[in-house]
Amino acid sequence: MADKLNKKRLGIYIHVPFCKSKCAYCDFYSGNFSPDDRAEYLTVLEKHIKRIAPSADMYTVDSIFLGGGTPTILGGEGIALIGNAVASTFSLSGDLEFSVEANPGTVTHDDLKIMRSSGVNRISFGLQSSHDSELKMLSRIHSYSEFLSAYSDARDAGIDNINVDLMYGLPEQTVDSFAETVDRVSALSPEHLSLYGLKIEDNTPFGRMRDSLSLPDEDSEYEMYMTAVEMLRSRGYRHYEISNYAKNGRECRHNLKYWDALEYIAFGPSAYSYFGGKRYGYIGSLTDYCAAVEDGREPIEYCEEITEQDREAEYIMLRMRLRDGISAEDFYSRFGIDFEEKYRDKLNKYISIGVMVKDRDRYFLTDRGMYVSNTVISDIAEFDA
């Protein structure tokens, strides 16, 4: 155990590219594959995990995240299998956070019980809306009442850390209908909420009907955002990242790794890792991914070595998403650079405009500032072109 304390910490992400059907807004890599494909994928995953694990023998895994797609399509048994594959090859921390994304329409009470007993301790429900009309418009396969029963099943199975994903800025959505969703869901008192503004992606059904969608304008969407920010704050949630809210101490450890620029290793088609000074991504095709792994090759499609300058710029880009922002002291200890001196003019400009606040050595965006963060970050961060 003493050995573990000195080890560096690591997150594991596993992509499960299976969905019963595609939602209208989603451009993640997933598809409706056959049970045989799914079984093969589990075998390949096990192999891949086993092969990569030795390169992380100096690390302790303190978070596992199964995302998708729809991980719960694999059933409790499938998820347990993946959990075991990681547990038997990597060294796990005693306070492991093990999250699984669940579709309220595919997860059963039994699945949840099996998951819990195999170590899963956090469930993230993709709900999106409490209005069935909005769910239908998004092509979600579940209703709000199905979510409610899945939610209570999870609680019953002993999951004491639950996230619910919601969306705003949807076609035809109003500030009131969104406020109602936030009100209803927060009344259930989940430990964590993620509220995502809809982004229309190319190569999605919404992308193809972009021009005919009646989307809320910029000002209404901002009002939705601010309404949620205020309501959730009054109910004891901390707005700790642009789109994320948590009760005290319930921030998602895994996701914080992304924003703290900490290391993580990912598995599965289209999944990205940040490990050993490199960011690399696997090919976005289940067939190609499986073939490569079976072949003993790494299915890498993209890889970049992060330069010192990019490391600094990425840190600014990611940390500025967080309510904690950037501490000049942390910045100095990471990069040996005086943050305040280097960026003084710009920081002062944003403080004077009122989108940034300085508290002791810490600079962070206000609620309003977070919603214009691209403007601020693109101005401050100097990427290695």
Binding site: Y258, A271, S273, V372, N374, T375
Partner: protein
């Protein structure tokens, strides 16, 4: 051969026409038929050298070419074809080119008939005492109506056209006959080769090896290599290096040019500013008593600020303008600075077309992104203390309380339009503060309108408005007539409380409100939302006459940024940063070059 016989075998002529009536194609066909250029060798429209000219179908600068022709009478003739610029901005240059000729072909489209520039060019040719030979072109088109067009030429211009050639420059129909007519119907040049030298400069261009190549028509006397010559407007003297003629593919040296000849002179002249079109070249040893009539220095009529979109390219812009000026004495520029736009140049142009051509050449030939300020005319401002200022830049416009009289240039405009559009065009001229002079029916279908119009109304998209109100059929010609006192005001535009000097302009009092509103709206559409609210105000002095607001930006965020999003997001933010670099910082406000340009394109329909 006696000198008289030599002159008998020369014909110096121009081709004049309304735009698109086929002038360049006809020139090509004549070149081909005189075997100056074989069909195989011939590049389409040889006389128009510049790419831009070819695209716009107009000739910007005059060119000349010497042709040889064996006539049916068995004699050999030398034909000098002098091309002319085909636009109102270049009227003076056209008139000088015409003065170098003895005759002109007046080309009229057999389907369109006489147009505004047909008339304007015909009058210029008549003023130059030229024999005019009408030519009806485009006989290959099914809608050609040669008799109607001939009748129009007789009725409107008043020259006989009964038996004039009817040709198709496109197919070559009747071109032989036309060339014969040039010999039989156009006069030979006159002149005395023994008299003191008088050459008319009708064009020049800069060549990096030869220096300035001056195109001349020898009116009297003889000029030879080695002669010492004098330019009569400046008194400057030079030693002639070479003289010769203009072949289809280059210069042919010939040792001497005599009265009646058209050719070139090189004399190690450094800049074309020294060889002004219309000036007289004489002999330094035996000078002519007086210069040829009609010379005047070219005066720009329209001014605008030209700035590089990327401030770092100021030096490139200066180099480019210098290069353009090498071959365009009418282009004027001097350095200026704008608080809003930084370092740039005040440029003077003959007119709007001239300006547009220069802008396009800067962008195309020199790869420069440029920002132009609103074009301005020259105002004559008399102050209470009697001082008279000529103001071509709104920034230098004096405070209202200092002004005794403000005067603006007014032009005589001649518009020809099909009758059905007369109402709309009269409304347009009325709206542009025009004074109606008269209206003449050309025939039952077309009308000629005469207006006095302030030039500053014409330089704001008047052409576009005229075209859109006449579905492209109306044509316009104008010439400067006089300066008239006018109620002018300076309109300032403020962003976030600060005046943007580059957006100020001079406008008639009555038009100020409308234009102020329009500009404020345009700016609102074109200034992206920023982190704070931006008031846009238009003011005359301290009086705000229009106001708009750009609301504060609310949303510029990426909702999700997890593992796979980071690379994408980095690229997105880098792109955003690049985009920002193109923006101009005006005080606290960022404005794109496009916003400046949008303000210049006010469609006031």
């Amino acid at each position: 051969m006696s000198d008289k016989e030599r002159l008998e075998h020369i014909r110096n002529f121009s081709i004049v026409a309304h735009i698109d009536h086929g002038k360049s194609t006809l020139a090509d066909r004549i070149l081909e038929h005189t075997q100056t250029v074989s069909t195989r060798e011939m590049e389409e429209q040889l006389l128009d050298n510049m790419e831009l000219e070819r695209e716009r179908g107009i000739t910007i600068k005059a060119r000349a070419v010497r042709l040889g022709y064996d006539a049916k009478n068995g004699e050999h003739y030398t034909l000098n074809l002098i091309d002319t610029p085909g636009h109102v901005d270049f009227n003076y240059e056209v008139s000088r080119s015409l003065n170098a000729c003895d005759g002109a072909l007046l080309v009229v489209d057999a389907t369109q008939g006489v147009e505004a520039q047909t008339l304007a060019n015909a009058y210029l040719a008549i003023d130059a005492d030229l024999e005019i030979l009408p030519v009806v072109n485009k006989m290959d088109l099914p809608s050609a109506n040669v008799e109607k067009v001939r009748q129009e030429v007789e009725d409107i211009i008043g020259i006989p056209a009964e038996d004039c050639p009817a040709v198709s420059a496109k197919t070559g129909l009747n071109i032989d006959q036309l060339i014969e007519s040039i010999i039989t119907d156009l006069p030979a040049p006159k002149g005395d080769s023994e008299a003191p030298l008088k050459c008319l400069i009708f064009d020049s261009y800069y060549d990096s090896y030869l220096g300035v190549v001056v195109y001349v028509r020898v009116m009297d006397g003889t000029v030879r290599s080695g002669d010492r010559i004098r330019l009569m407007s400046t008194g400057m003297e030079y030693d002639v290096v070479d003289v010769g003629t203009m072949g289809a593919f280059g210069l042919d040296k010939c040792g001497e040019l005599r009265a009646g000849d058209v050719g070139f002179i090189t004399a190690s002249i450094k800049t074309i500013g020294e060889t002004r079109v219309g000036d007289t070249v004489t002999s330094a040893e035996n000078p002519a008593a007086e210069a040829l009539p009609g010379f005047r220095a070219v005066q720009p009529m329209v001014y605008a600020g030209i700035y590089p979109a990327d401030g770092a390219r100021y030096g490139d812009l200066r180099d480019a303008l210098e290069k353009l000026q090498l071959n365009d004495a009418a282009l004027f520029f001097e350095a200026e600075t704008s608080i809003a736009l930084g370092f740039g140049f005040r440029c003077g142009f003959l007119g709007l077309l001239h300006m547009e051509i220069m802008m396009e050449r800067l962008e195309r030939e020199f790869n420069l992104d440029i920002i132009t300020t609103a074009p301005s005319v020259i105002y004559e401002i008399t102050l209470h203390n009697g001082t008279v200022l000529r103001v071509d830049n709104p920034t230098n416009y004096p405070a209202p309380e200092e002004i005794e009289i403000a005067a603006e240039p007014v032009v005589k405009a001649n518009i020809i339009t099909p009758t059905e559009y007369v109402g709309g065009i009269m409304d347009l001229c009325q709206d542009r503060r025009g004074t109606f002079i008269d209206m003449k029916y050309i025939d039952t279908e077309r009308v000629e309108l005469h207006y006095d119009l302030p030039l500053n109304e014409i330089i704001y998209d008047f052409f576009d408005a005229l075209k859109s109100r006449s579905r492209g059929y109306a044509s316009l010609d104008y010439e400067l007539s006089e300066y008239r006192p006018s109620k002018l005001v300076k309109l300032d535009i403020m962003l976030n409380g600060d005046v943007v000097d580059a957006l100020s302009f001079i406008v008639h009092e009555e038009k100020a409100y409308g234009r102020a509103r329009k500009i404020a709206e345009k700016l609102k559409e074109n200034i992206p939302r920023q982190l704070f609210e931006i008031p846009i105000q238009a003011a005359i002095g301290s009086k705000i006459i229009a106001r708009e607001t750009v609301k504060a930006m609310r949303k510029d965020v990426l909702a999700k940024c997890y593992g796979g999003d980071i690379t994408r997001k980095k690229k997105l933010l880098e792109k955003q940063k690049e985009g920002k670099k193109k923006m101009r910082q005006l005080g606290s406000v960022e404005v794109s070059p496009e916003a400046f340009m949008a303000v210049l394109k006010l469609d006031e329909e």
